[in-house]
């Protein structure tokens, strides 16, 4: 019997128990990670279909594919599904769940049952929101702004709002679980400053989830009460204020951007270290930058409200504070770049995604500084410039990190290698398709094309056609990994423990790992990222099991 076959037959978390029930009632963080993978993928496909319909409508200046009402429902459904049910849970739910206990050298999260409950709340919330979308949809935009959402719209605000409310508790519980696990369950020798930066960044994410999400929850409850019982919190005729909704909503929803981007930064730190064969330059600074982003992210929400009627004095303060977030973000980007300097850089698929992330996040981040500037924001408010900016952060940032991480740890998760050639093609398609989709939108926005309209003047057609063409390429880039990942499950070569020759506790256990993660409880007796200077990179790509 070959060594590969023997390795495959060792008990692991995938073959330890079988049957649907063993998955639906599992308490294993790795299996729950897989459940999240299935869940977020389903919502991503649905959100993607809505996106394609939007781009199809915008190929021609006339509103000829859907009516304005249907268009409003399309972009709202796209936003709600992508933000709340894909971007926010994707990396913590899938990769965070799978990796955090292994990276800190323990057998599971602190509260395994709570972890499973998180997934069920996520699915229940998603199902409720989807039910609302099917039963008529919502046309408020993903932001649910009052007074339209509370008083005027006849669409399904209550079920969708309640779906997002329920899903919020999933995020709170996951954040709580991660924080307790990181505090209490680290392996002997795993000090705070030996934690992989993946863990630091997830800790920062958890802080935001625990401190911010309850505010969104209560805001949505107030909205539902306002709509159902006319309690008057947001209604000026009853002493309320519609702008108050925006304060409460953005107190969570601006930090929520960092719930999306910090886990992606978590992945990027691991990828840069592994594919430059170097310890991350300025490890401590990058770790504290994560916490800095989490804290500062709570002080800037008013930059979403410059034209809402908010006091100009508050607006000025929020504008100044917004500039501060650029500092920890830049610390990360500069330190990743310095890590590459004199590293043994190899351009495998995950690294292509990581490098793509740095470029796209920089454009997204810097245009965020533009938008944080009061005068400029008034000019481009509610235009495609804003749409392009936040897609550069959310798609260029979060999805690049998510895909990079999924490729990097796929051999660990499944024990199988994917075809590297097709991986690189897909990374390239995503990068090119993404830029072609969203860069023209900066130009459209600057020229004044407003967001959320299904028709536009003819002179903007060329840029819109380019954007839609880019979306097709982007879509292809997303379909390819589905195909070759599925192929790899059946026919991919066995991965072995450490196909990338990377450092970290997750690479010291089997692929796929045993149910309790390690045969022997690990001890961390060295610094994190112990790459030797001048260590050769993995230029030949992934090494299958027989090579080790």
């Amino acid at each position: 019997m070959s060594s590969e076959a023997m390795a495959a037959e060792r008990p692991n978390y995938l073959n330890a128990t079988t049957g649907l029930k063993s998955w639906l009632l599992t308490l294993d963080h790795k299996r729950i990670g897989i459940l999240y993978l299935l869940g977020v993928s389903a919502f991503f496909v649905l959100g993607g279909i809505f996106a394609m319909l939007i781009r199809l409508e915008l190929v021609t200046p006339a509103g000829d594919l859907v009516q304005p009402d249907a268009y409003n429902r399309l972009f709202t459904s796209h936003g709600v599904l992508m933000v709340f049910f894909f971007l926010i849970p994707a990396i913590p739910g899938v990769l965070g769940n799978f990796l955090i206990p292994i990276m800190i050298g323990t057998k599971d999260l602190a509260f395994p049952r709570l972890n499973l409950l998180s997934w069920y709340l996520f699915m229940a919330g998603g199902t409720m929101a989807l039910g609302g979308i099917i039963a008529g949809g919502v046309d408020t935009g993903w932001t649910f702004y009052t007074p339209y959402s509370s008083t005027y719209t006849m669409t399904a605000v209550i079920p969708v709002g309640l779906g997002v409310f329920v899903n919020g508790f999933s995020g709170i519980l996951t954040g709580l679980n991660f924080m307790v696990t990181i505090h209490r369950m680290r392996a002997p020798g795993m000090t705070w400053f030996r934690l992989p930066l993946f863990v630091w960044s997830h800790y920062a994410t958890s802080l935001i989830q625990v401190l911010g999400t309850p505010v969104l929850a209560i805001t949505l409850v107030l909205l539902v009460f306002e709509r159902a019982f006319h309690i008057g919190v947001f209604d000026p005729t009853r002493g309320g204020d519609p702008v108050f909704f925006q304060h409460l909503f953005w107190f969570y929803s601006h930090p929520a951007v960092y719930i999306m981007i910090l886990p992606s930064m978590a992945v990027i730190s691991e990828l840069i270290a592994a594919f430059a064969r170097k310890r991350i330059f300025g490890y401590h600074a990058v770790a504290f930058a994560s916490i800095g982003i989490a804290v500062l992210g709570f002080l800037v929400w008013g930059h979403h409200m410059f034209v809402s009627g908010q006091s100009v004095y508050a607006g000025t303060a929020f504008s100044l504070l917004t500039m501060l977030v650029a500092i920890p973000s830049a610390i990360k980007v500069f330190n990743w770049s310095f890590t590459l300097y004199q590293g043994s850089v190899s351009f495998q698929t995950p690294m292509l995604y990581a490098l793509g992330f740095i470029g796209l996040f920089m454009i997204g981040g810097l245009t965020g500084v533009f938008l944080g500037t009061l005068g400029f924001d008034v000019h481009v408010h509610d235009t495609y410039f804003v749409v392009a900016h936040f897609h550069y952060v959310m798609v260029g940032g979060t999805i690049m990190g998510y895909l990079g991480g999924l490729h990097y740890w796929w051999p660990k998760i499944t024990g199988k290698l994917y075809p590297e050639f097709w991986g690189k093609i897909s990374a390239l398609l995503v990068f090119v398709g993404f830029n072609l989709t969203f860069f023209p939108q900066f130009l459209l926005g600057y020229m004044g094309m407003p967001r959320r309209y299904h028709a536009y003047p003819e002179e903007w057609q060329v840029l819109n056609v380019l954007s839609s063409a880019g979306a097709s390429i982007l879509g292809l880039g997303f379909v390819l990994p589905v195909l070759y990942f599925a192929w790899s499950l059946k026919k991919g070569p066995l991965a072995g423990r450490n196909p990338w020759g990377a450092r970290g506790l997750e690479w010291e256990t089997d692929s796929p790992p045993p149910t309790l993660n390690f045969d022997e409880p690990p001890v961390m007796n060295h610094e994190v990222y112990p790459y030797a200077d001048g260590e050769p990179g993995s230029t030949s790509g992934m090494k299958p099991a027989s090579a080790h």
């Binding site: 505090h183 401190l211 911010g212 505010v215 000026p236 002493g239 309320g240 204020d241 702008v243 108050f244 304060h247 409460l248 107190f251 709570f298 002080l299 929400w301 008013g302 409200m305 009627g309 908010q310 006091s311 100009v312 004095y313 508050a314 303060a317 929020f318």
Partner: protein, 103 residues
């Protein structure tokens, strides 16, 4: 585990009775016109009650130092929410515009 603290029942009863007394005072104050002081008294009582619940019923008094730190962090974040939101409402009228909420 060493960090589990068993609280005597009489402490729970004492806290419960205190909460009831404070509730009765809240109701009583509602019938006395103290002007603007009514709100101050009621909010003061509410804060005192919440503190009792957090310290005794939620065991924050008996946890490690990290537990009160986390609880205080939560309240600090609430202050951020209130503080920055009020920075809008309190300064909206400075340019003479005012809002329905302020009027």
């Amino acid at each position: 585990m060493s960090d589990i603290h068993v609280v005597p029942v009489k402490i729970y009863v004492a806290v419960f009775l205190t909460l009831m007394v404070l509730t009765a005072i809240t109701v009583a104050v509602a019938f006395v016109d103290l002007g603007a002081l009514n709100n101050v008294v009621m909010l003061g009582i509410a804060v005192a009650k919440a503190t009792l619940v957090v310290l005794f019923f939620m065991h924050v008094k008996y946890g490690t130092r990290l537990v009160p730190l986390v609880a205080a962090g939560g309240f600090f974040w609430l202050l951020i929410l209130f503080g920055f939101t009020l920075s809008d409402y309190l300064s909206r009228g400075w340019l003479g515009a005012g809002t329905p909420w302020m009027r």
